[in-house]
């Protein structure tokens, strides 16, 4: 017997029954695409098309079309890469760490957050391919036996560690997401009215029969995957941070980078989850499932991780002074007051100051304000990477090599490509797959619902084709 303390706020509103949950989530999968969805999808495709043209030209013509120069050899490419990888972290945190901590509020948002993770990692990977310049050589990043003499990856390079970290991360996240989908796919299969969808969802449901044994296996594998992904939450961004921190560039070489990047990643990831969920809950009318409690809790996570990042900024700045290394001191002083001061202060304002507004309960329960701050946070986190990368590079050791970076239309276009790709994938997901994990919401319904209906099982509604009432209704027994 589990007990839920009365001091906990309920998570699910509207007195839902199990049948209601199925109905509310499945109907978006089963119905025809709405007009809004079609418009949004059309826009995404257009954006993707424009981005694809830019990307095609980048690859055709070469990386010279970017605004890089001899001094600033990394700019938007790696900024965007780190930004997207970071965004992915919230999904893994929600699915893995919050599962281990038995946080019931994760159930309404984990599905979409994990999907976001996968798409964000795909976007991130696309920047790796882009900045290889010759993407058909991408397999050179893998330690494969080859016929090119002594050509082999440099295991000392954090860029190679990145290849392993990100591919592991992608595989585990994908498996986690897919395993979580199986019971829901089976539900959709069982409700399907057309042969095609019964076949498609049935194939991917892999013969799920809902027996006690399959549920037990589902629980085991979820825990095992959570155990595997928890270190991944830390390791992926740790290794991304080492792309910079193993170097001796002032402003990059600082030992706090690994945990500080992880905190920043979770911070931006939760902001992106907020953005996506706030739209989804309105469009799909999921206000009873993604409630103010969920939004408030996520805002608390944003405030916490934003403050951790703030402590890291202050630590770096303090040690830059304390260490007495003039290069280091200059790098940080230059960030604040040099030609990129606006980027630095955009980062500080967006990342450190703005989440502190959530100390007000009224603000963290305001949907409009939450949406606004989430966007601000993501802008801030983009600037953070930009500041770290560009301001550390643009002042070379020799003043004659000092330079500035200005993006070309291809820098911008390739970034736009990733947005097109992300939203196209996310919209496809939100149409063809259940955006909320029905099975897991049902599992917490009894303990977290605001008003429990007398009969929690409920009765499935009459189906579109006019099928009669279910032959067996246990509530009538």
């Amino acid at each position: 017997m589990h007990v839920t303390s009365p001091v906990r706020e309920p998570l699910i509103q509207g007195g839902k029954t199990y049948a209601d949950v199925t109905e509310d989530i499945c109907r978006h999968v089963e119905g025809a695409p709405t007009k809004e969805w079609k418009i949004a999808f059309g826009i995404s495709l257009l954006v993707l098309a424009y981005g694809t043209v830019c990307l095609a030209w980048t690859w055709w013509e070469g990386l010279g079309v970017w605004g890089l120069n001899k001094t600033v050899g990394w700019a938007w490419d790696i900024t965007n890469f780190v930004w997207w990888v970071g965004i992915g972290h919230a999904g893994t945190l929600i699915s893995a760490i919050l599962l281990l901590f038995r946080q019931k509020w994760r159930t309404s948002i984990n599905r979409a957050a994990e999907a976001m993770t996968i798409f964000a990692v795909i976007c991130a990977a696309s920047f790796i391919l882009m900045h290889m310049g010759r993407p058909w050589m991408a397999y050179w990043a893998l330690p494969l036996p080859n016929a090119f003499g002594s050509l082999w990856v440099n295991f000392n390079s954090p860029l190679v560690w990145d290849v392993f970290a990100i591919s592991t991360y992608f595989s585990v996240s994908l498996v986690f997401w897919y395993i979580g989908l199986i019971p829901d796919l089976a539900t959709i299969r069982d409700r399907a009215t057309s042969k095609v969808s019964r076949f498609m969802y049935g194939t991917f449901a892999m013969g799920w029969d809902g027996s006690a044994k399959t549920w037990a296996r589902y629980e085991y594998i979820s825990l095992i995957l959570a155990g595997l992904s928890t270190p991944l939450v830390l390791s992926v961004h740790t290794i991304v941070s080492m792309d910079f921190a193993t170097s001796v560039i002032p402003g990059w070489h600082t030992t706090i980078f690994p945990p500080y990047f992880v905190a920043g990643a979770i911070f931006s990831g939760f902001a992106m989850v907020q953005n996506l969920m706030l739209i989804t809950r309105v469009v799909y009318k999921l206000e009873d499932y993604i409630t103010l409690e969920h939004i408030e809790t996520m805002n608390k996570v944003i405030t916490l991780t934003g403050s951790v990042v703030g402590v890291a900024y202050i630590t770096e700045f303090f040690i830059a002074w304390y260490g007495g290394v003039e290069y280091e001191y200059y790098a940080f002083f230059n960030r604040m007051t040099g030609p990129y001061w606006w980027a630095y202060w955009a980062m500080m304002t967006c990342n450190v100051i703005s989440p502190q507004l959530f100390w007000s309960r009224k603000l963290r329960r305001s949907i409009t304000f939450t949406f606004f701050i989430s966007i601000v946070v993501n802008i801030g986190m983009w600037f953070e990477r930009f500041v770290i990368i560009v301001t550390s590079l643009h002042r070379d050791y020799i003043p004659s090599s000092w330079a500035m970076f200005s993006p070309t239309r291809y820098d911008i276009g390739d970034y736009i490509f990733s947005f097109g790709l992300f939203f196209t994938l996310f919209l496809l997901f939100s149409k063809y797959l259940p955006v909320v994990n029905m099975a897991e919401v049902k599992a917490v319904l009894r303990s977290t619902s605001a008003q429990l209906p007398a009969k929690i099982a409920g009765v499935a509604k009459v189906r579109q084709r006019g099928t009669a009432e279910p032959a067996f209704d246990k509530d009538k027994e």
Binding site: V7, L100, A245, T255, P259, V311, Y322, G323, V325
Partner: protein, 453 residues
């Protein structure tokens, strides 16, 4: 299923028996005797042939590193320190007081840290043993006094930066880098910070403790709500002071050296050691017939916490080490070179023992599911972590204070034993003051039915 939910009484009071008191006093007495013996041996030069020799080696190793990388300033200063004034046995006593002061301060304040984040996260499972972490911070004032007095009387032996000569421009001992840190590293500001840490940590703990005790008598959710607010306030304070105190207490000893990770590294060390103390206390109370309401699920979760946060400490340790090793900047690598090769190689053993006790051992021992609720295994793992993190602070503090004059003998273990017995005495006296289970905590029912089988 956890044994059909026969929940034992929640009304139980810990009795700090005269026998237990006597044992702890005997333990402290043995510690004192060891200290006396160690001090006598040190003062009469027993086992000290190594000093002069060791100092030479340290200077050689350090000088070598300096020459190799051309960091003349660092190498020379450290070498001067190594060879100049051979550390007296008095310095060793101050250093021992400081190591234990820092370590036991950390374990005490982590009790408050644990309670605070459990309040903020609305944790339910931990309520039943909440009184144990709640008892730890009562030791803070004693540690505050020890640290303050040690700094005032032994500061010159511990902190290189307290020497006035370093700041005299043109003087023989003038050190430009240390002079640059004067805005932060100066005696008045250091003492102010030290006092503020202890005052604020202790005060916030008192507030939460009083709310918790009143809740026992009156009930209702008002105290719970207030505790969340004060707990959050503590987290904000501790979020900053945990880092700054680590810079003050430990990092500033190696005055030239710096690492941005150091604050979180020390926090990770304090945290897992505090968790080990909490778990060990819970297990020991259960063995004496108390806390029957703590079931195997609670123990497993505590075991998981130690397992996870010992890995987290290792992660932070490794990230700091790897980045310094990889970049190979002489002003940073000196820290590890000193511990590897300096001082006659004395610190190499503690360095690796730290890693073994804090990572490999608990990692392997707590790996399986059943191990995490087995009393004997939990006790072994907790002791490993508690001694391991003592070694951690030892390795971080001793090279910069006593250098080649360090030993790990009667003096060290005697001091550790004294502090340990005093800490246990303080915890037991606190536990005695209230019901062992917070009977009116709004999350108590959840905790009593905690079942993760």
């Amino acid at each position: 299923m956890a044994s059909a939910h026969s929940i034992p009484s929640i009304e139980e009071r810990f009795e700090f028996t005269s026998e237990a008191k006597r044992n702890l006093l005997i333990g402290g007495g043995v510690g004192l005797a060891l200290v006396a013996l160690g001090a006598y041996l040190a003062a009469t030069g027993g086992g000290h042939e190594a000093v002069a020799h060791g100092a030479e080696q340290a200077a050689a190793a350090v000088g070598h590193a300096g020459a190799e990388h051309g960091a003349a300033g660092h190498g020379a200063a450290a070498a001067a320190e190594g060879g100049h004034h051979a550390k007296s046995w008095v310095a060793r006593i101050w250093a021992n007081l400081w190591v234990n002061g820092v370590y036991f301060t950390g374990m005490s304040v982590v009790g408050m840290f644990f309670i605070s984040y459990n309040y903020l996260a609305q944790a339910g499972w931990s309520t039943v043993f909440k009184r144990i972490p709640e008892a730890l911070p009562a030791f803070l004032p004693y540690m505050g006094v020890v640290m303050l007095l040690t700094f005032i009387f032994g500061g010159h032996d511990l902190f290189h930066w307290t020497h006035e000569g370093l700041y005299e421009v043109g003087g023989p001992e003038y050190d430009k880098i240390i002079a640059g840190k004067r805005g932060f590293l100066n005696t008045p500001f250091f003492i102010i910070r030290l006092v503020i840490y202890f005052a604020v940590w202790y005060w916030l703990w008192r507030v939460i403790r009083n709310l918790s005790l009143k809740e026992d008598e009156i009930g209702g959710t008002e105290f719970y709500e207030k505790s969340i607010r004060f707990g959050t306030a503590f987290l904000v304070v501790f979020g900053v002071t945990s880092s700054t105190s680590a810079w003050d207490f430990v990092m500033s000893i190696d005055t030239h050296w710096f690492s941005t990770m150091f604050g979180w590294y020390t926090l990770a060390s304090w945290h897992v050691a505090g968790l080990a103390v909490i778990t060990l206390t819970v297990v020991m109370l259960r063995e004496r017939g108390y806390l029957r309401a703590v079931n195997s699920s609670h123990l497993r979760d505590l075991g998981k916490f130690i397992f996870a946060f010992s890995i987290f400490w290792t992660y932070v340790w490794f990230a700091q080490f790897l980045l310094i090793y990889y970049a190979n900047l002489p002003e940073e690598t000196i820290y590890f070179i000193e511990r590897f090769r300096g001082h006659g190689g004395f610190y190499k053993a503690p360095f690796f023992i730290t890693l073994f006790l804090n990572f490999f051992f608990p990692f392997l021992v707590l790996m399986t599911r059943d191990a995490k609720y087995t009393h004997s295994i939990l006790k072994v793992a907790c002791w490993s972590v508690i001694i391991g993190h003592y070694m951690d602070f030892y390795t971080n503090i001793m090279p910069g204070t006593v250098g080649a004059g360090a030993e790990l003998g009667a003096l060290e273990w005697g001091f550790f034993l004294i502090f340990l017995c005093a800490f246990a005495y303080s915890i037991a006296s606190q536990l005695e003051k209230a019901n062992l289970i917070p009977r009116n905590h709004p999350m108590l029912e959840e905790s009593l039915h905690h079942d993760i089988a």
